[in-house]
Subunit: 156 residues, 2 copies
DNA sequence: TTGACTTCCATAAAATCCCATGATATTCGG
DNA sequence: CCGAATATCATGGGATTTTATGGAAGTCAA
């Protein structure tokens, strides 16, 4: 299985076009997609992105359509209604709606951040801040869980 | 199962290319990989390397994409966003990003250090230092646990 | 027509492929 | 056991392709 890894920073031109990193395009293509699904993150500081498969799995998880259950997670409904599917054009670019870019503070430069089975779009500086926080919190956990820590051999 | 063993020092040419030791390539190939995944070590004095299987196991462990859970384990995010998958070219080489080389102090020469199920990239001199430290620690432990003092095995 | 979007084309930089070379190891015949 | 023929490997340098990015031309609806 191919994963979305690493971080790439690309330019957003004045028309709102951004190149999706070739590697990410390849991952999507390997699943048979020529489009990306975008949805705002809950706290709104970035944009979540994935292939349509992830949305389908998500729908399954929340139970699918059921006219009898009045209160399906309203969260989930919001997700589906906020999500947009963007076609990737012949040059590997997408057109992110201005509104979405603004809500994530993206302007000029856009960071594509791999998360394994999905990725995110960030304003580069904002992502750096977030990453630094995450790294600090995580430093001790990491060695234990991956076996790839700095300290000696993993005692697996 | 094939393991990454021994240490090889190869040259980094001006294009940033390095030959992955043939033995290591064989190990990767035996698992069905024609690429390497690199990720910075916590303290940044080296680069961890492994096959994609390690990343997949990691992703499984933290669970997939779920926009409903606000804060997925942040250390996982840091890993996925820092990791890069490098394809091994027809001549057995990879192109390590300059930034990563610099952060590990690698320049000109690169040591590939086997760790069994993974390996690391080091600046050769820095690795020698680390190795000496590790050996001393190990000797102490051995002395403590077996009663055999420094006269045991030849520690260079 | 105007405005928004899409397709198409141009270009510079970067990544990738391809082949040549020298060094080292391996095989094989005697 | 020795030395020649052969394969494997690391490495250098070019040629080719891919990528990101800018701009122009075409499409369609209001």
């Amino acid at each position: 299985m191919a994963l979305f890894l690493s971080t790439y920073v690309n330019k957003v031109d004045k028309k709102g076009r951004v190149s999706v990193p070739a590697r990410f395009r390849a991952v999507l293509a390997s699943k048979g997609f020529d489009s990306v699904v975008l949805l705002p993150t809950i706290n709104g500081d970035a944009i979540d992105a994935c292939g349509m498969d992830v949305m389908e799995r998500l729908l399954e998880k929340i139970g699918g359509f059921d006219p009898l259950s009045e209160d399906r997670e309203s969260y989930a409904d919001a997700l589906m209604s906020d999500a947009i599917e963007l076609p990737i054009d012949g040059d590997g670019r997408i057109m992110v709606p201005l509104e979405m870019l603004e809500s994530a503070g993206i302007d000029g430069q856009c960071a594509f951040v791999g998360r394994g089975d999905s990725f995110q779009l960030w304003q580069p500086a904002a992502f750096e801040v977030r990453k630094k926080q995450a790294r600090t919190r995580a430093a001790n956990k990491r060695a234990a869980s991956t076996g790839l820590g700095s300290e000696g051999r993993g005692d697996d």
